[in-house]
Symmetry: C2
Subunit: 185 residues, 2 copies
Amino acid sequence: VATNLPDTSYAVLGLIDKVPGSSGYELVTVAGRSLAQFWPISQTLLYRELARLTERGWVTATRVDQDTAPVKWTYRLTAGGRRALADWLATSAPPASSFRSGFLLRFFFAHRMRPRRVQTLLADYRRALQAQRDDLLAIIDKLSTSTAPAARFGRLAALHGLRTATARLAWVDEAEDELNRERPR
Amino acid sequence: VATNLPDTSYAVLGLIDKVPGSSGYELVTVAGRSLAQFWPISQTLLYRELARLTERGWVTATRVDQDTAPVKWTYRLTAGGRRALADWLATSAPPASSFRSGFLLRFFFAHRMRPRRVQTLLADYRRALQAQRDDLLAIIDKLSTSTAPAARFGRLAALHGLRTATARLAWVDEAEDELNRERPR
DNA sequence: GCTATCATGTAACTAGTTACATGATTAC
DNA sequence: GTAATCATGTAACTAGTTACATGATAGC
């Protein structure tokens, strides 16, 4: 009964391939500061995927006893896992780019808000974008020192986020201008 | 047992408020060319939300018999529905902007791909972005003629998508340049 | 004594997806 | 004949979220 798995499974598989021999706990943190920008995975889900990948025989789990910290399990791809990852990467990415913005959803109904409320909504959005931009700048900065071939794509992925955030910040200015122009004071 | 509803419910509520007296079928199409850009709602889900909103007493459903087409049901907000919508709009949008990009996920693991594959991946992404940009341009064009206050925010929301798509197209160029520079021929 | 880090889970839920069903009318 | 438009659903699933549990060690 080999149904095909969701992209999240391959995300975890790819992560293990990138940092082999890490524990679930480590993978959660690594995912949190890399994948999270464009493919967030919660801790619970990641552990569930690890179990599933192990069951499939795509990764092996090794028990590691530590004296200072609790027991941990480390993961590595099997030959089957490498094949599965390669197959998935060769598959065309479907248009499955789901984007849901709580901000835009509310903004779309802004004609039912008082002008002041629209202002704070935009201000909140700007703050969130700035925080995101700063995060991405830090990531890019850290990755730009490394010359590893794998880090190159990570850096470009982060750059994608940075360009997006910057454009959206410019949009916030634009929107504020337009809203002020029509209704002065 | 009044649990609070997900944003999607309010999205539908807001839509009905925007186009009162429309049927589920009409709402599906309206959602498809407005909300879909930043808050996609499938047909099945929309009908389910209509049932839920009716149950809550936030909207009323009216049966309309037609001689040429099948029976339809049209929807309108009640006083309670208007209050619920206003309350939700007054609520700060949580950072809940979930973004999942199948493209970036694969691109992040591009070090495991052959260079040719990376090229086609980028080319496919560019094509998708161009299509999206054209869609948004058409929407903005249509909305810019209208002077209704509600259309203004719709236009700005579409502009947000346009700015995003444009920045990402520029990123594709940037990424291709960078990948070609390091590995000529 | 408190908080943070390391480390792995269970339980319960629900939002959202996909596939399918039905059937009339109009236009090519 | 066949495809598109109008119109509303049901059924079945699963991916992902949220809240909670546990427990050791290390540093302040």
